[in-house]
C-alpha cells in the first residue's frame, strides 16, 4: 500500500470534471461513487508516468516533465467515462446524450470518409494504383504549393502567368514558391501542422486540399504552353473564318473571265447583300495590292495587284489560263441562241460565275484601266 502523501497533479481536476460531465445523466450519488477517489488515483498515475519519463529518456511520452496530460496516459475523458460506465454495468447514454458537438461530428464524418475510401482502395484492382499514388504524395505536396502560389498571383492580377510566378519580380516569386513548397511538404509530413489531428485542423486541411484539386486545372490553363489561351492561334483561325474559302482553301485572289472565256481585269465583286467580297488572305499577304477608289482601298476588285520582290511598282498577275472555254447563259436557248458567240446584252442578268459585269470590257492589257488608279502601294494602316 502506498501511503505517501500525494499532491493533486495539474490537469487531473479538469480531466475528472470532463469525466463527470460525460456522466451527467447518472444520479448524483452514482456519479459520485464512480468518481470518488479518482483524483488520488489519477494523480498517482501522472506522478508515476512523470517519474518513469524522467528516469528513461527513451520513454514514448514526448511531453516535457510537468506537462504530462492525463489524457495522454489514459485516453480522452469521454472514452474514459464511457469505459467506466460500461464496466460498472450502468446503461450507456442514449436520449439524454446531448447532440454531438461540431468537432465530434466533424471527426466522425472525416473518419467515416477515410474508412470508406480506404476500404474502396483495398479492392484488388485499386490497391496497386493507390499504393503508387500514396508513394507519389510528395509530388502532390509540391504541386499544391505551386497551385496555391499561382492562384494568389492570379488573384493579385499579375500577368503574364509563368511557370514560376513573378510576384514582385522573378527572384521574389521563386522565393515565395520555394517557401510554399517547404511549408506544404512539412504539412504533408505532419511535422508543422496539423500534428494534433483536431477536427478543425483536419477539416481545414481537407478543404484546402480539395481547393487545390479544383484550382489545379484553371491555374494550369493560365500558363502558356500548358494548353493555355493562345492569342495568336485564335486570331489566325478567326481571320480564316472571316475570309473567303473554296473547298476549304483560302481564296487570296480571283481571276475573272468573261462568258466567252477571255480574262477580265478590274472586276468588282459584291455578295448577295451587296457587301464587297473580301478575300481576307488577299489583304493579309503583304505582296497583294488593292485597287483604289479615290484614296480608299478596294480589296473586292479582281485580280488584285501584286508586287513581287524587287519590283518597284505592282503589276497585275498573269492569268493561269490565257483563255477558258466559253459558257452559255442559263436563260432559254431561244433567246440566247445555240451559239455562245453573241455578246450578252445589258438586260441579261448575271450568269453564274464571274461573267457578270457586262460593262467590263475584256482586258487586252494586264494594266488596270486608266480611269482607275489601279493597285497601289498598300497602306500601312490596313
Amino acid at each position: 500500500m502506498n501511503q505517501t502523501t500525494l499532491a493533486v497533479q495539474p490537469g487531473v481536476t479538469t480531466f475528472i470534471e470532463q469525466v463527470r460531465a460525460r456522466l451527467a445523466d447518472l444520479p448524483p450519488e452514482v456519479r459520485d461513487e464512480l468518481t470518488d477517489g479518482l483524483e488520488a488515483d489519477l494523480s498517482e498515475l501522472v506522478t508515476e508516468h512523470a517519474d518513469s519519463s524522467s528516469a528513461d529518456d527513451s520513454s514514448r511520452s514526448p511531453e516535457p516533465l510537468g506537462e504530462i496530460s492525463v489524457a495522454s496516459i489514459v485516453g480522452d475523458p469521454v472514452t474514459y467515462a464511457d469505459e467506466l460506465r460500461a464496466a460498472a454495468g450502468l446503461p450507456m447514454r442514449t436520449a439524454q446524450r446531448a447532440r454531438p458537438s461540431v468537432g465530434e461530428r466533424t471527426t466522425s464524418v472525416l473518419d467515416r470518409g477515410r474508412r470508406r475510401w480506404e476500404s474502396a482502395m483495398a479492392m484488388p484492382l485499386l490497391s496497386a494504383p493507390w499504393a503508387l499514388l500514396v508513394a507519389l504524395r510528395p509530388l502532390w505536396w509540391a504541386f499544391r504549393a505551386w497551385v496555391a502560389v499561382q492562384f494568389l498571383d492570379l488573384v493579385a492580377g499579375n500577368e503574364p502567368h509563368r511557370l514560376v510566378p513573378a510576384i514582385a519580380g522573378q527572384f521574389i516569386g521563386s522565393l515565395v514558391l520555394a517557401v510554399a513548397v517547404v511549408v506544404s511538404v512539412q504539412i504533408g509530413r505532419g511535422v508543422w501542422w496539423p500534428g494534433d489531428r483536431r477536427p478543425g485542423s483536419r477539416a481545414l486541411l481537407a478543404v484546402l486540399n480539395c481547393g487545390a484539386v479544383l484550382l489545379a486545372l484553371p491555374t494550369m490553363t493560365q500558363i502558356p504552353g500548358f494548353g493555355g489561351y493562345d492569342a495568336t492561334r485564335f486570331d489566325y483561325v478567326s481571320q480564316v473564318d472571316r475570309g473567303l474559302t473554296n473547298g476549304g482553301i483560302e481564296v487570296c485572289d480571283i481571276q475573272p473571265y468573261s462568258a466567252e472565256g477571255e480574262p477580265l481585269v478590274g472586276v468588282q465583286l459584291f455578295d448577295q447583300q451587296g457587301r464587297p467580297l473580301n478575300t481576307a488572305c488577299g489583304s493579309w499577304n503583304d505582296r497583294k495590292r488593292p485597287w483604289m477608289l479615290g484614296d480608299v482601298q478596294r480589296w473586292n476588285v479582281f485580280p488584285l495587284g501584286i508586287q513581287r520582290d524587287g519590283d518597284s511598282v505592282p503589276t497585275l498577275p498573269t492569268p493561269n489560263l490565257d483563255q477558258v472555254p466559253a459558257v452559255r447563259s442559263p436563260l432559254s436557248e431561244s433567246e440566247q441562241g445555240s451559239e455562245p458567240g453573241p455578246e450578252p446584252g445589258p438586260e441579261l442578268g448575271p450568269g453564274p460565275g464571274v461573267g457578270a459585269p457586262a460593262d467590263s470590257s475584256p482586258a487586252e492589257s494586264p494594266n488596270p484601266p486608266a480611269d482607275r488608279s489601279g493597285p497601289t502601294e498598300r497602306s500601312q494602316g490596313e
Binding site: T5, L6, L34, D36, G37, D41, A87, A88
Partner: protein, 110 residues
Amino acid sequence: MDTTQLLKGVLDLTVLAVVSGEDGYGYDIVRRLRHGGLEEVGDASVYGTLRRLYAAGALTSYVVPSDEGPHRKYYGITPSGRDQLKRQTDDWQHFAKTVSQLLKTQGASV
C-alpha cells in the same frame, strides 16, 4: 486474438482475487493486475468493475483521508465476495480446462 474481449469476461474474477489478498485503492488494484500479467487492462474498466462489485455487495469500501492530498478510496472483499470468488474460480478452471481439452482434441488435426 483480441485479448481485451477475454479480459472483460474475467475482470470480475481477477479483481476479486487481487482484492482478496489485500485491500487496495483503485490505481493500486490496476497496478497489481498489470504486475500479474494483465498488462492491457484499462484503468476505467477496473474502476467501473470495482464500483459494480461494490454495488453487488461483493466488496466493501472505505475512505482513507490524507492530510495534504486528496483522499483515497479503498476496497476490501466481503464474505459474499469470497463466495463469488470461489464460485467463479471453479467456473473459470472448469471452463479453461474444457477449452484446453477441446483445443487439444479438435485442434490436433489442424
